[in-house]
């Protein structure tokens, strides 16, 4: 009999997951029936809520606010201990006192995206009309929908223009959408490892992940909350596949090579003989403890639909024509999810629109995930870009 080991089951109870979605451990901006969110699919969503965190202090003329947009599986806990995982914030390499996004000089806002599962309204939230979890009754949302909801949050904070919008991956998509939809409200934009549209290969990977979730019998057509199950195997496999795309061949080889996991010889089974297998299984099982499966379906779908040029007669340059926003784009040499060529296309469109843009490609073998990691050149350039934008905006500058 060959040994078989599946991805481990989560220890979090379903009611715990549901609780964070409705009553998050962060600030909440609630929008009532009188403030509906008009979605791209044609539905008015009301009421709804956006969960967010802030760091630093808003200055008197409200000119130092930075909005941080999170990636697919990120959340609003950018620079504080995450209430679910107990781990440090996901972008503490970039955000904090003295960091590029200096919390001593800037007022940092980060919100959980619409459709997320950390307190902003999404498929894991309770539908107030029925008193049940939304599940698949939740309308399909888009990146522009997320940004429209963020704009309502920024309105509610009384902020007219953001000093900067910052994001990587799906967060970078939101950043670019901000500049296309509200150019006058974005003084500067820092978009990392992203694109203005999702490629066919990326849509394909997302479809693989969604099919893995939906193939899990515990998914129950999206009604797993009511039925007391959780599609942790399907979601775990989706995460494992996605995680490979966030790394690179070189990084996997450097970290794991063909090394064995706590053994000298193959066990002639389907046990995790290799370190890389063990690592992926860990990534899968730790992810399902903190993330909602339906939310994963909705957010990947939003990324798939994203195409700024399509909203501007197929001409990307039209989306950015004569915007006064100062742009900085960065890509990473080993990122095959959002390769440099895609950033370059965006840069060409910005140049064609006469927009002020900087673009740097950072050499690293860390793949797409490099934007979350301690990559000094990336962090230095981000800081320098913000510093130069700050001096033009009349904000305090470091090293002056």
């Amino acid at each position: 009999m060959v040994n078989v080991e599946l991805v481990k089951s989560p220890v979090v109870r379903p009611d715990e997951r549901g609780h964070e979605a409705d009553h998050p451990t962060s600030l909440v901006a609630a929008f009532g029936m009188d403030q509906p969110l008009r979605l791209d699919c044609g539905i008015d969503l009301a009421p709804f809520q956006i969960a967010y965190q802030t760091y630093g202090t808003l200055n008197a003329d409200k000119s130092n606010a930075i909005l941080v947009c999170h990636a697919l599986t990120g959340d609003q806990h950018v620079a504080n201990i995450n209430p679910i995982t107990g781990k440090p914030g996901w972008w503490q390499t970039l955000v904090g006192p003295g960091k590029a996004l200096d919390t001593e000089r800037y007022f940092i806002i980060s919100s959980n995206v619409l459709g997320g599962c950390m307190g902003s309204t999404g498929p894991a939230s309770t539908n107030p009309a029925t008193g049940k979890i939304w599940g698949l009754d939740f309308p399909v949302i888009t990146i522009p929908d997320m940004v429209r909801a963020q704009a309502m949050l920024i309105d509610s904070l009384g902020i007219g223009q953001l000093f900067c919008v910052v994001g990587g991956s799906m967060g970078g998509m939101q950043t670019l959408q901000w500049t296309a939809a509200y150019p006058e409200r974005v003084f500067s934009a820092l978009a990392v490892a992203c694109s203005t549209r999702h490629s066919a290969q990326n849509i394909a990977f997302h479809e693989l992940g969604r099919q893995a979730v939906m193939a899990d019998p515990d998914w129950r057509g999206g009604r797993y909350f009511e039925e007391g199950t959780h599609p942790h195997r399907g979601l775990g496999v989706a995460r494992m596949a996605a995680h490979i795309t966030y790394l690179s061949d070189a990084a996997l080889h450097r970290k794991f090579g063909r090394r064995m996991q706590d053994r000298e010889l193959p066990t002639f089974s389907f046990d995790a003989d290799f370190q890389v297998e063990s690592y992926l299984r860990y990534q899968g099982s730790s992810f399902v403890e903190r993330f909602d499966a339906n939310s994963y379906l909705y957010l990947t779908r939003a990324m798939d639909y994203f195409d700024i040029a399509a909203d501007h007669n197929g001409k990307l340059a039209e989306a950015f024509r004569d915007t006064q926003t100062r742009f900085c784009l960065m890509s990473f040499t080993s990122d095959w999810l959002f390769p440099t060529a895609e950033s370059r296309d965006v840069v060409h469109a910005l140049n064609a629109g006469g927009v002020r843009v900087s673009f740097a490609e950072i050499e690293t073998d860390k793949g797409h995930d490099a934007f979350l990691l301690d990559v000094p050149e990336f962090l230095d350039i981000a800081g320098a870009f913000l510093n130069s934008a700050a001096s033009v905006r009349g904000l305090p500058v470091t090293g002056a």
Partner: protein
């Protein structure tokens, strides 16, 4: 006496950290900056470490840059300059007509694959172009080839023939002929000596072609001015 005159200003300069003065910039950069009207929008193709762009921005000029080397780009972006990674040969095509008041090609023409196409693109994107390049007709070059029989190497062009990025050398005279061929109007021409100082203005072309270490040209479209 001469010693005292030199040391006194130096001491006062140390006491007060003055803003970056003109003496810190290269001679050809100062000359290029002086050719550009304040408030203009400028593209610097092959902007290197961004020294010229910094000089232009300090004079209220809206400067953008393209640079081939990743290291150069990242240093520029690190200085807060609007610079993108790109190649003069392949990326200029992505810029629309009349996008800039001036497009600068400083010490880069000789490193392009198709200098003629690049030059045409400069004057499509910009209303004016400023081009500077090392003059292969400089007397030191001629002497090295004539007497030494080897490919010339100078202080400013130290690379050997097999590892130089410069694949299309020309003389000042060659460049003037090309400008005539593609109907480009020469608004201003200056030859600089080995130390970046302008040669005397009323010298004949042959003199510049012999004693100019580099040429700096302000160009515009000849056909435009001929049109009504």
């Amino acid at each position: 006496m001469a010693f005292q005159q030199q040391t006194l200003p130096l001491n006062s300069a140390v006491a007060t950290p003055a803003p970056r003065g003109t003496q810190d910039y290269r001679g050809d950069h100062l000359l290029v900056a002086e050719m550009i009207k304040p408030g203009s929008k400028v593209l610097d193709v092959g902007c290197g470490d961004g020294d010229l762009l910094q000089l232009l921005e300090s004079r209220g000029i809206d400067g953008r840059g393209i640079e081939l080397s990743r290291e150069g780009v990242n240093r520029c972006v690190g200085k807060g300059l609007a610079v993108v990674q790109g190649d003069a040969d392949t990326d200029l095509i992505n810029y629309p007509d009349d996008a800039f008041d001036y497009v600068i090609l400083s010490q880069t023409l000789q490193a392009t694959r198709q200098p003629r196409v690049v030059l045409e693109n400069l004057l499509r994107i910009g209303r004016s172009a400023i081009v500077s390049f090392p003059n292969f007709g400089f007397w030191k070059m001629r002497v090295q080839l004539l007497v030494g029989g080897r490919m010339p190497r100078t202080e400013n062009l130290p690379a050997t023939w097999y590892d130089t990025p410069n694949i299309h050398f020309c003389t000042i005279k060659d460049f003037v002929v090309l400008c005539d061929e593609i109907n480009v109007k020469m608004e201003r021409a200056v030859a600089l000596d080995l130390y970046g100082r302008p040669l005397r203005l009323n010298a004949p072309w042959w003199f510049w072609n012999m004693f100019g270490e580099q040429g700096v040209f302000l160009l515009s479209r000849a056909s435009k001015s001929a049109q009504p």
